[in-house]
């Protein structure tokens, strides 16, 4: 057995439990753009209505969690599936350079727009010379 393990390293690896789709989180597709005022974040959250979306900021971790609203009716049989049923979760780290109080969020047709203004302290400043 040890000889076999030495030539096939995968055999000594512990078996991994099957992934349960409902518990796993899907990282949504996003687009982040920076300008001098702040960051423009676009996140694609198909199937997530406003009431199922939660945006929290704690300890420099901006978390966007979206739950899908749709469940497959009992009578429906899936013939072909490509979409995932996993809920969305996105965690972005920042170092206090965002003015959390002034974050502006807008969700429309499964697309979330977040405007994250830069904190005044990190904005470029002109210093007057006496």
């Amino acid at each position: 057995m040890t000889f076999l393990q030495s030539i096939v390293p995968g055999l000594s690896r512990p078996a991994q439990p099957a992934k349960v789709e409902t518990d796993s989180k899907l990282r949504p597709v996003l687009n982040l753009r920076e300008d001098e005022h702040g960051y423009n974040l676009t996140v694609f959250l198909p199937g997530v209505p406003k009431e199922n979306l939660e945006i929290t900021d704690h300890d420099g971790r901006l978390t966007i969690a979206g739950r899908r609203a749709w469940t497959q009716p009992k009578e429906w049989t899936a013939l072909y599936r490509e979409t995932s049923r996993a809920n969305f979760e996105l965690v972005l780290h920042h170092e206090g350079d965002i003015d959390v109080e002034k974050i502006n969020a807008e969700l429309k047709d499964g697309r979330l727009h977040l405007m994250l203004p830069k904190a005044e302290a990190v904005k470029p400043r002109k210093i007057a010379i006496n």
Partner: protein, 149 residues
């Protein structure tokens, strides 16, 4: 011919030579094959292509497509010879709401059953398009009485 996406073989080149066994390369090759074959289904938005589901119940076929960020006006649905084609334009806007880029999305799905084409309906909510395709009623056996002269 099948096209296999090229993935840089970092596992094989970066593995230290002493721990390398003839199986290690094979194992990473197999993993790579699985990733190329299955990888696309895990990503919610693949460029120019979007994930679709096909369902059925006793009366209808249903197609669900993930089209986040589109509006009803951007979506065009056609049913031609057993194929349902969904076309959409994803508009990328700048801060002022001006369209800077339009990405065309398109998918064709083969519908396995006979469909009443003029009774197809569609709904769009939270970035998900649901198309309902009513199944054609089976041609019922007709009873014809023939008079004998």
């Amino acid at each position: 011919m099948t096209l296999v996406r090229y993935i840089h073989p970092r596992t094989t080149t970066l593995a230290p030579a002493f721990s390398r066994t003839p199986w290690l390369g094979l194992e990473s090759d197999i993993n790579r094959l699985f990733e190329t074959a299955l990888g696309d289904f895990n990503s919610p938005v693949f460029e120019h292509r979007f994930p679709v589901d096909l369902y059925e119940d006793k009366d209808n076929n249903y197609v669900r497509a993930e089209l986040p960020g589109l509006t009803r006006e951007d979506i065009n649905i056609e049913m031609v010879e057993g194929y349902l084609t969904i076309n959409g334009d994803r508009k990328v806007t700048d801060d002022d709401g001006k369209v800077v880029e339009t990405i065309s999305l398109s998918r064709s799905i083969s519908i396995p059953e006979a469909i009443v084409a003029d009774k197809i309906t569609a709904a769009f909510e939270h970035g998900i398009l649901t198309v309902t395709l009513p199944k054609r009623e089976e041609v019922k056996p007709k009873k014809v009485t023939i008079a004998i002269n």
